[in-house]
Amino acid sequence: METAAEQHHEAPAGFVRRYIFSTDHKVIAKQYMILSLTMALIGGFTAYLIRWQLAWPETDIPGWGPIGPDNYNAIITMHGTVMVFFVAMPFLLGAFGNYLIPLMIGARDMAFPRLNMMSFWTVFTASVVLTISMFVPGGPAAAGWTGYAPLSDNPIYTGVTWGQNLWILALALEFGSFLMGGINFLTTALNMRAPGMTLWRLPLVVWMELTAAVVFLLSVGPLIAGALMLLADRTLGTGFFRPDRGGDPLLWEHLFWFFGHPEVYVVALPGFGIMLEVMPVFARKPIFGYRTMVWSTIAAGLLSFIVWAHHMFVSGMDPRLATPFSVTTILISVPFALLVFSMIATVWGGSITLTTPMLFALGGLATFIIGGVTGIFLGSATTDIFLHGTYFVVAHFHYTLFPVTFFGGFAGLYYWYPKMFGRMMNETLGKIHFWFTFVFFNAIFIPLFAVGTHGSPRRIYELSSYTYLQPFQYLHVIATYATIGLFIGQLPFIVNFIGSMVRGKRAADNPWDANTLEWATTSPPPHENFEHIPVVYRDPYEYSVPGENEDWIPQTRPEPQIVYAAAD
């Protein structure tokens, strides 16, 4: 595998080599971003179908028509799969991981640029496969994004044939892609660091992307095996998950969640990392407890491997396992509390300017806390008896996934846009986008917590089919109006995102007076990122250092005595 160090150093000539099959991590990052935002349109549209159906089951859906219960199951399955695997991961790891890691550690590119290109085109193929699966005869997969067997295993139960096989194939490709990506992240961050860039000088987002990569690498294996088994069940007549052939459905649940829980932190950590880059810059304040955060991140990563059965408290597994898994699960609140409190302490006593990225970062933190604490209700096996499989779970995970994916993601997008595209985004449109997103996001999912506590199962096509739930239909109506508001709120973003590329005012190299290395090069950075490889002399967050007249000190500013040494 040819490494960046060995590559010749001029930008490739042709359009194809430069923009399509490019090995430049910056181009690849943008490809990931476009892919995830495009998939977000699908994810968003499916959300719209879901919401409309739930609010006004009897009416046809404008722009779509009526949907039946079987379509409904297919739609939520596609929604969940698309959002987690083809929006959140490409956005937070693919786009930001690829863009930031080399720039922030002072490298010219990823360790394995060709592998990097392959990773993208693999996940691209995966999303094509998934999209195709929505149109094959028999319809797309309809067993939920968790694909529980035997529903996902034996076509007679859903009538879905190729849709489910392609779903498995799409996931397998997606996993392969992010495995390659993870290997690249790790090798790059270990070996391509600029002189002086010690591990303790890495920006937190790099730490978190790395932890995410490791967690993914070590958790996905068993599910890859599981996917092969499921595919074999469906095509070769094996019966791993089929009781009628001697198999066991719970095996799938274990394989899925052994990956599934770590996976949610794989998504969460980079989102946190982005918020953590934005906050010190606009609070003009160092990160509070940098090392505490690094250790908490690692601790959360480790703990995530021993909590998976909290998704299975009432699954029929041995009930004696519940309490141990409850304990480990609730214990995770400790590293997360450390992270959350340190973030708040970072803002406390700052000199805060509420730019769009800052608003999204703060909004992400504020909303994530709700998602986090509601996790505790689910973490206690006893309360999970009642809450499992209800809308409380749905509200919980949107309150965790949405903040990291979209608040975190948008914070990063507004913050690094000037670096990526060399132009500033429009602040007014940005602020409108934030307030619409913030207000309406909460207005969607707060009511859904109540739907859950009143005992509504999730994945139901029509709430009113249960008499005890009919009084709460209005909560679904509120959530749906809010969803429409949320969508309208995305229009200023789309305008801003595309418009600023041509109209936005040219960005300075370091428009935010930030310290980290990506701001030490031009906006956008040249091919190979740096004129000269920068030398790192200090921590990434030295803001408002007493005695300095500037309130920021870039990581590349030499210590006084070294300047002196170099001078004579």
Partner: protein, 238 residues
């Protein structure tokens, strides 16, 4: 003020579930309010300019024990509260999902796309005999008695969920999963399948009909006209 968040509880162990729920509710509620409070305060109080032009941010790197105490002491308290939650939860779980208490009635529950079948052993108290009775979607049980159920599925995974009973248990094909409940409050309570099981999942209804001794034996009476006496005796016995 939030007390109407949960449906009314009618089972004997539901109280434990609700107690744990409210315990968690108030603990995390407190920390939630505190965290959001400090966050919002900081944002308002430390807006640039609002502290008077030219004021600099504080230089707090949180790398001294004294500064770190500000986050580690709260987290120590949280760790303690976590363990308290675990304790409350563990004992309740043990009671609900642990050993099944000696039961008065045993009923076979068979889930299949998309309805619930309830099989009663009949007067002789044995399954698989001529006098077994299978009822579709309606589960009649006596109030004030421990009801044991054995869950089996004919096809995919379902979940036996009765909100008012605070009862949920997945039904997994290839396994026989037993559980129990007791309700002292006669009434009709809905069963809602809560594991995705196909296009009919949303309408996989059922009802639990808890009846006082009189109504229950009346129901038995027209279900098993013959041998009724023997049977009602066997129920009243304990």
């Amino acid at each position: 003020m939030f007390s109407n968040l949960l449906p009314p509880n009618v089972s004997t162990f539901g109280g434990d579930v609700d107690h744990t729920f409210w315990m968690i509710f108030w603990i995390v509620g407190f920390w939630f309010v505190l965290a959001e409070g400090v966050l919002i305060y900081s944002i308002v109080r430390y807006r640039k300019g609002s502290t008077g032009a030219g004021t600099r941010a504080m230089f707090l790197r949180g790398d001294t024990p004294r500064q770190l105490a500000w986050i580690f002491i709260p987290v120590a308290i949280i760790l303690f509260l976590d363990l308290a939650i675990d304790r409350a939860g563990a004992s309740a779980w043990e009671r609900i999902k642990g050993e099944i208490p000696p039961s008065d009635v045993t009923i076979k529950v068979t889930a299949k796309q998309f309805n619930w079948n309830f099989t009663y052993p009949g007067p002789d108290g044995k399954f698989g005999t001529a006098d077994d009775i299978t009822a579709e979607n309606d589960l009649h049980v006596p109030a004030g008695k421990v009801v044991k159920f054995e869950l089996q599925s004919e096809d995919v995974i379902h979940s036996f969920f009765v909100p008012e009973l605070r009862l949920k248990q997945d039904v997994v094909p290839g396994r026989k999963i037993s559980g129990w409940f007791q309700s002292d409050i006669p009434g009709t309570y809905e069963i809602a399948c809560s594991e995705l099981c196909g296009f009919g999942h949303y309408s996989m209804h059922g009802t639990v009909i808890v009846q006082n001794a009189k109504d229950y034996s009346a129901w038995l009476h027209d279900t098993w006209p013959t041998k009724f006496a023997a049977n009602s005796a066997s129920v009243k016995a304990n």
